[in-house]
Symmetry: C2
């Protein structure tokens, strides 16, 4: 396996999880660049890299520059980098492949939820790559394959839809866990009661299409239960609205 | 451990998972009663029990009768049983403890999602019990503890709220998985791309409160991404509404 010299721009959750996975896979992290000198220093130390405070000061000579910052900061960062001819990728689910004549552009989007101090098994994370030319795509494929068994070439348009699907499957599910935890905690029940149910719900769809895994009062049209639940939720207008909308949505799939 | 003689009324997912767990724990299943003679016969054979077609014919002599049928059928079934003095429980999340002078009533509610052919690790399932008198509660506790390490005495009112929380955490999350799968399949992407993300989302909250585990464009107020997603979803009014409502709900938690 070829060992890449990697520069990371960003020091958030994506940058830090990706940096650790790359280091573990045998690549070298040269620099970590972040406007936040503290997080840059911490992550750089973790990755045996040098911290840099300003994109304009990022050194040339790395094989790949990975911009892992908020979407709105990607273009401003790119415009400050002085790295003609270099391979520069972003990690956004939503931004298109950036056309920038003086560098080789690519996308390196790990389709996963990254949270501080929560380990990720990178080997199973779909890594979605895209590039402006086949040689660059081959390089991104090599980097991706060094950390994951699931590298996918996915267009900007499809990647955007994948990201939307991820918001439903992950961000919104997590929010439903938060709502459920609130409901229990308000009644002095431990939110931990939910954990086996949450695990099993996620486990079932590893084996079965979610449509076939659906259970509960909505899918079995149990009007008595639905009405009892909605009556209780009248005290929480937002939850009442979510309950009603998702129940209708489950029921409309069946018809 | 005391071995109970159990009669099951119902042959659906709850009855069959619970029956198997009880059998495995060393109890005897005497009869399986269901109006559907086919499923009664199949489950009775699985549990080395006798099939019965009509609640009025269920034999006396079992230590516990477990009614695991749709909520609306519980009272009609109970009224047909001719078992004075017997211990009779239902498995509903929503129905109260039933007051019925001629029998000993209880509730035995396993807080889990049960789907045909998907195994359940019963030892971790919270079993919520309730009874009209302490001796009956002690018996239910013994049955519960024989299959689960997590038996909880929970009142009818709290059990109803637990059930509502379960609908959010499980039924609605599963529906979001279905929506996400649809979005990918429409674009000829494999829904399997979602599976590591779904697993990780459920795994994270085993370690961290879901509020702290929240990621994505809503919680980081990434307006550019939110607007791009909503624009794409204009073609799917129901998904647009769900996206908007859950995004607002995530954002309102922060303030």
């Amino acid at each position: 396996m070829r060992s890449f010299r990697v520069s990371l721009i960003g020091s958030g959750n994506v940058a830090s999880h990706l940096g650790k996975a790359l280091l573990t896979a045998g690549h070298r992290i040269i620099e970590v660049c972040s406007r936040n000198p503290e997080t840059a220093a911490v992550l750089a130390a973790d990755l045996s890299a040098d911290p840099v405070g300003n994109p304009a000061e990022v050194q040339p000579g790395a094989d790949i520059y990975i911009i892992a910052v908020k979407d709105e900061a990607v273009i401003p960062v790119l415009e400050q980098l002085k790295l003609p001819g270099s391979l520069i990728v972003h990690t956004s689910g939503t931004l298109p492949l950036i056309q920038h004549s003086s560098v080789r552009n690519g996308v390196f989007y790990p389709f996963q939820t990254f949270t501080k101090n929560i380990p990720v098994n990178f080997s199973e994370v779909p890594v979605c790559i895209e590039a402006g030319d086949p040689a660059t795509l081959a390089e991104l494929n090599a980097v991706g394959a060094s950390i994951s068994g699931n590298v996918q070439v996915i267009s900007s348009e499809k990647r955007k839809i994948l990201h939307i699907a991820g918001v439903f499957a992950s961000n919104f599910s997590n929010h439903l866990y938060a709502i459920a935890s609130d409901l229990l905690e308000k009644e002095h029940m431990p939110a931990g009661l939910l954990l086996p149910l949450i695990r099993q719900t996620a486990n079932k769809v590893q084996l079965l299409h979610p449509e076939k895994a659906q259970t509960g009062p909505a899918v079995r049209n149990d009007e008595a239960v639905l009405n009892a639940h909605l009556k209780h939720l009248e005290a929480y207008p937002e939850l009442h609205e979510i309950y009603q909308l998702l129940t209708r949505s489950i029921q409309s799939r069946k018809s």
